[in-house]
């Protein structure tokens, strides 16, 4: 799949691949599971993300968007990097919650790396502690719109 990645900008070709069915993979890197139950609530019929084709992927190999919750602890950081490397090429990371964005309340604690952007390149930040399920959907929809207009963060880390 040769996608013309011009200095890291995702072009329309790459967006076509996941426009109608971006599958989520959720990884909790040391969160208080407040954000996790909101991600879980966002998948229920009341908010119904399947209208956008968003669904929990059974395994990381099928995932397009990695939803990271939690202040990345050092021990979970290696797993986060391994997960990010295992994902197929057009991949994006959404940091859900204050802990994933900047470490939130735990930013000064000893085992915490304070923020998902210290371990993996993050494409979309969703602040809130925890963000409402609508805010999580809003973040995913905004990411998809950014992909369509082509100026989102690079989905491949520079290599095709």
């Amino acid at each position: 799949m040769d996608n013309e990645v011009v200095e890291g900008k995702t072009t329309r070709r790459e967006y076509k691949v996941i426009r109608y069915s971006p599958w989520l993979v959720h990884f909790n890197t040391g969160a208080c599971n407040g954000c996790d139950i909101e991600v879980l609530a966002a998948i229920t019929p009341l908010y119904d993300p399947e209208r956008f084709g968003v669904k929990l992927a059974p395994s990381i190999r099928h995932g397009d968007i990695l939803v990271v919750t939690g202040a990345v602890t050092k021990k979970a950081a290696e797993r986060l990097k391994r997960l990010y490397d295992q994902m197929p090429c057009p991949k994006f990371v959404i940091a859900v919650g204050a802990c994933a964005c900047t470490g939130g309340v735990f930013s000064k604690s000893y085992p915490v790396l304070a923020g998902a952007d210290k371990a993996v390149p993050v494409s979309m930040y969703i602040p809130g502690c925890p963000p409402r399920p609508e805010a999580i959907l809003d973040g995913i929809v905004k990411l998809l719109k950014k992909l369509e207009s082509g100026e989102s963060g690079d989905g491949c880390g520079g290599k095709a």
């Binding site: 909790n28 208080c32 139950i37 879980l40 609530a41 990381i60 602890t73 979970a76 797993r79």
Partner: protein, 405 residues
Amino acid sequence: MAVTKIIEVPFTLEIPVGPQHPALHEPVLLKAYADGEEIVKVDINTGYNHRGIEKLCEKNSFYRDIFIVGRVCGICNAVHANAYVRALEAILDVTPNNRARYLRVLAMELERIHSHMLINAVMAENIGFEALFMNIMLDREKVMKAKEIVTGARVMADYMMVGGVRRDIDDVKRDKLRKLISELRPRVEYYRKVFEEDETILKRLIDVGRLKPVDVTSHGLLGPVARASGVKIDTRASDRYDAYNEIPFDVVTRNEGDSWARMMVRWDEVLEAINMVEYILEKLPSDGNPVPDEKKLPRKFPLGEAYTRVEAQRGELIYYVMSDGKGMNPYRVKIRTPSFNNIINTGFMYIGHTIPDLPVILTSLDPCISCMERVTVVDLEKNIVYKVSLKELGGGKWGSRRYSI
């Protein structure tokens, strides 16, 4: 040349139910060593969720800790904040007025309803019952709306403060709550009937992970896990804190002790909590303003230590706060959460069950890994001599050796 000897080499398959797994929403690594389908040994490996909260509490002031402590666990945060705030009140000898104590119980019972509905939904999802999961989660949104009305946020109810609560509810909110709760009751009764009579649920849950009462007390298990085996322990009934001495409720126990009994105890506790919420909404005393003026609360805390217990959704949650009377920070904050005992000490329960039972048993214990966050344990496996010695080899002293197929 006749075949003289056949060496049967059963490998113990090491199956990591990894930190990232669709069934688990939290990072815990369960290394299951299985001989065929039967589990021989389980390593519960945590540490992915350890955020060093006790050390962080020592570095922050007493009042900042109320919000840090609320973020130990998202599902049971009002309960954590309540236990911590009552420890501070014990050190300061401050008692909130009646209305505040009733409102605290209201917030905690709403949280118990939404937590128990969540774990029953996740159990239905783990045994493959997607339709039931979706419907329970849909009805759980009513409780989340009720909690948003009372505390201002759906999950993180920063509602407890030294000397009372941080918001009051007026009659408009009270009617909204009453309407929501009255809509919720028939739904919960319906789901309880489904859990009681549905064939697939009964087949998967009955006789899975049976616990005897003496196992419960010697391993220090708590909450619905203990009450489902007939051990009658409930901190609300024994400590009678906040408004639990005035609100009528009874402790739900069953005797079967298997995963199904634990789920039914949780459904009965949801019905109990709904009765309590309705009782509170009727008989809310109005003796003064429950909201303390946060600008005038004392900064320095006298020398002292306090040990408060609260009945969280998963069992008895304990806070030990010690202040050395000098600085504005606590000297030591010890948090012992119910999942700490319920998950770490139950390595023995998986022995003898099949691999598909592993998520069922783990979910029936209601794992709250962000509460648990602590330590690895290797369980005490019974040396059941079985077939060829390789079996103990796989399970016993050579357990850590990794066999690749």
